[in-house]
Subunit: 143 residues, 2 copies
């Protein structure tokens, strides 16, 4: 049993994990509510998280309130790793949107995706959780 | 190529997926910001999403603004499935907190988890995405 089952990932390791993945969850404001959606992403040359969204998506709430949070995670039997980003989202137009065409941004599905949104990373927090296989010491139900 | 690569999961299927998993991501307000955290959960007898949090966690923002969103997902080569919940969170005390002791709520790690939070589900949206193996038709980089 480790004294410190939760450890911090270095910024480099957190960025490496962000670059190695392509699927995360984006949390955003929609009026006074918080919403969350699974989404494909890519990191661009300016270290922004770039996503594409369908016209009319709830994600257009981003244009009203740029404050967002984004999460990715990976795990195996031994440990879980999670990277959480806080940042600001902005819709890209014209030339800026065209530049993202080169990104390996894979839509989950072949629906039309028209809007390009770039998220500037303000805070990046990576954590590693040593999994203690808790099911081995789950206490029996006492019903 | 399917005409409708995104289909809706029935409420029953969405609930079944919620009950079959134990790990999700919780998005919540913290002052005027949106935050997201990976978290273990269990569904209780009242169909609430129950989580445990450490004392002093950012999740205590929940006591200021109960509005939350929660997401789980699963995928294989063929398709991805995601369930998104919108709801209201409330910290449980005393007897109510004690009752959750029977839940198969596995902490990721053996740190002390003191606060019990129950999320009442107001909206449940399950979606299935037929994956089109998009890397097979990724256009070549034109750099």
């Amino acid at each position: 049993m480790s004294d410190s089952p939760v450890t911090t990932l270095s910024p480099d390791d957190s960025w490496a994990m962000l670059r190695a993945n392509e699927f995360g969850r984006l949390a955003f404001h929609l009026a006074d509510e918080v919403h969350i959606t699974p989404i494909n992403y890519a990191i661009d040359a300016q270290d922004r998280i770039v996503v594409r969204t369908a016209e009319g998506s709830k994600l257009l709430g981003l244009t009203m309130n740029a404050d967002v949070a984004f999460e990715i995670d990976e795990f195996d039997d031994e440990e879980a790793r999670s990277v959480v980003v806080r940042g600001r989202a902005r819709t890209l137009d014209g030339h800026e949107a065209d530049e993202t065409e080169q990104l390996p941004l894979r839509p989950w599905v072949d629906t039309v995706k028209l809007n390009v949104v770039a998220i500037t990373v303000d805070e990046l927090t990576g954590r590693r959780f040593s999994l203690t296989r808790p099911w081995l010491h789950l206490r029996p139900h006492e019903v």
